[in-house]
Symmetry: none
Subunit: 414 residues, 2 copies
């Protein structure tokens, strides 16, 4: 089978100044690898017509597939179209659908479209125009001197949508690669990367299809399985076998696959059990409930909560007893439990969860930053409360607290 | 003064597979910019002898300063030395000090040095050998065909140490650049990138010191000013002049510089005015208050809030009148105002702010996703309420709502 050489070009002086990082090249490389396409070069070039032209000419001389990100925007230093025109002599025309979309965007916002926005609707005559569903400038695919070119916006969200919807399917057709590559991600919480890797050491070593790649992430550890076979069913079956082998060892810490999130799984369990939840949040300041509400359909099971950052709010609005606050303090098991019980009752919910502690930088009531109590209360009157010491700065501590709350709640519901 | 063209080359197939991101190029670019050295290209090439040779040859043909990261390690696919030797015909010798260090490293750990580790001590004869204080492979600086080459390990920690201790001082001597480079970032909210650029078009065009670079970000638009002069005072004065010129045109939308955040500026204003704030949040689910509380010292001015996601919570806990909910609905000006007033009173705060609307995906009470009302209430009884239509998916709408809330509040306090 023919081997296609791919090259990724990012256009933008902000990259050469180090103001932003070329995350587009990394993401595109990962995706292309999963389609069996080899990337031979990443190149970054600034917003300078001559240098972009030279970069394009070199790419065309050595690569079969060239993906260009950036330089399609409205401003004068967006030069991708001009540079490619000067090496290809292709005609640039206005794309009516894209122009309509841009006009509509400004009309809807009742704001004036400045003339430079018109630039974004210009495309190469004869190119396949790719609809930008999350922004304004459309993408393009075209063939020139035997190379396939894809032009995509530099904004990662827009680039990813266009690459996924249009570019990868196009390239798959082009390369005729019939091997199906399928990946799945297994997600774990409550276990570290090195421990997970240790538990699975022999399996990881013995395994080549699917490949097994553990990766630490901000919200836990994931394992990416990637299988290659001649049909979707066969690849799926390879993935499933290895998944079961892994879960047999570390299934206790497993919570979901692929796009599933811990907050999503919590919402699913709450729906299955038909339970409403309410949260009383001190140091997390609303972040926990906000995370649950980020899930579509959360309204069925999320009542809301009380953000009781100030002590007087704990007492006057949430009704934590003066006695508890004075004798035990706001950073205590007792306060956490009263918060969970009271928010559950006030909001008439099946479950109450509470967060109190010290986000820092300073200490509170003699407790160092990172001291956190999380409590859960249910309608039977049974309460659960745990103390944690988290490391990190103010916002790391707040995020770890929310993540731990989701973990506890997930296990509690399961 | 002579302008030096710099190029940064990363060698490593792992970058082309997207397994890691080329953070080295970003960091080196930032640093070089501050030394007044312009970077014209970033290039990534895999561990393939011929392609690394080609990349090096191209770099030497177009760049005065070439920094290479990676490919100096012990394994067979570390090919940087071999590739450069083949274009330069320089002799490679073993560096005794580096070899001694490597041996010492293994002796200290009582582990056996595999033969391939010897490879790391090899350097080009006549090069300046740079001591790696945090790892094994030394770096090198040399001049070849009028270009200055620096070879550095790919491990970021090692690369940064060698660049800081040896490469940048060397380059500063080379370029004879005594100029101080200073940057500042001006931050704006409530104005788009193209509108901002349109307003400042003539200033941007006429200006070369400081340079003016607008950039759209998730939370607004920023302008980076970069000035070059013979003293810090002179550079500061250039920045200040241009800043004033810009603020004269678009100062209404300006909220801060450099590391300042919109939430931080809101907290600062609240402290100055000695005002406590409370929030009633429906679709934002606690995200707004959480954003304020993310600021250090927020406890002085943030009371907390009520997350009234469920209608019964709006009515029973927050005390929005049944009449309002039945006749106007929860997604209405009237409901937003009652929410702001009631949360301010219940939490005994100077200011109440509220968010109600439709995060989507479905519509609510006949309002499409993205319909949002934000209200502010103060102790004088004056209320402010605005309606917005935001685009995007559920969480984009929620984030835009929070950002708009910060914007309104900032203007309100200012």
């Amino acid at each position: 089978m023919r081997q296609y050489k791919a090259e990724i070009i990012a256009v933008g002086t902000e990259l050469l100044l180090g103001q932003i990082s070329n995350t587009n090249a990394q993401w595109l490389s990962q995706q292309l690898a999963s389609y069996g396409i080899n990337v031979y070069n990443h190149v970054v070039v600034g917003d300078n017509l001559k240098r972009v032209e030279e970069t394009f000419a070199l790419a065309e001389s050595r690569s079969d597939i060239i993906i260009v990100t950036g330089g399609l925007g409205p401003t004068d230093d967006d030069l991708t179209r001009e540079a490619f025109q000067s090496i290809s002599e292709l005609e640039i025309i206005e794309h009516p659908d894209s122009m309509g979309k841009i006009k509509h965007f400004f009309e809807k916002r009742k704001s004036v479209m400045t003339p430079n926005n018109r630039k974004q609707a210009r495309v190469f005559k004869g190119s396949e125009v790719l609809e930008n569903k999350v922004g304004m400038a459309p993408g393009m695919i075209l063939t020139h001197n035997k190379s396939t070119w894809a032009f995509l916006p530099g904004v990662p969200r827009e680039m990813k949508q266009l690459a996924t919807d249009d570019v990868f399917p196009h390239l798959q057709k082009l390369t005729g690669n019939k091997d199906i590559i399928k990946s799945t991600v297994l997600k774990f919480i409550g276990i570290g990367e090195s421990k997970l890797e240790h538990e699975l050491k022999d399996i990881i070593k013995a395994q080549s299809n699917p490949t097994i790649a553990p990766l630490a992430q901000n919200d836990g550890v994931v394992i990416r399985l990637t299988a290659k076979d001649t049909s979707m069913e066969k690849a799926d079956s390879l993935l499933e076998q290895t998944k079961q082998q892994i879960l047999h060892r570390v299934g206790t810490f497993f919570y979901g696959v692929d796009d599933q999130t811990l907050e999503g799984q919590v919402i699913t369990l709450l729906k299955q059990q038909n339970k409403q939840i309410a949260a009383a949040e001190s140091l997390t300041g609303g972040l926990f409930m906000s995370k649950l509400i980020s899930v579509e359909g959360a309204s069925e099971v999320c009542s809301g909560g009380i953000v009781c950052y100030d002590t007087t709010v704990k007492e006057n609005v949430l009704g934590v007893s003066k006695n508890t606050i004075q004798s035990k303090g706001t950073v205590s098991e007792e306060c956490a439990v009263e918060m969970a019980v009271n928010v559950r009752k006030q909001l008439n919910s099946a479950i109450g969860i509470s967060f109190t502690g010290v986000a820092g930088p300073g200490e509170v009531e003699g407790h160092p930053a990172g001291t956190v109590f999380i409590a859960i209360s249910n309608h039977t009157g049974e309460n659960l409360v745990e103390k944690f010491i988290f490391q990190g700065n103010r916002n790391t501590i707040r995020h770890r607290t929310v993540l731990k709350g989701l973990e506890i709640l997930y296990k509690y519901l399961k």
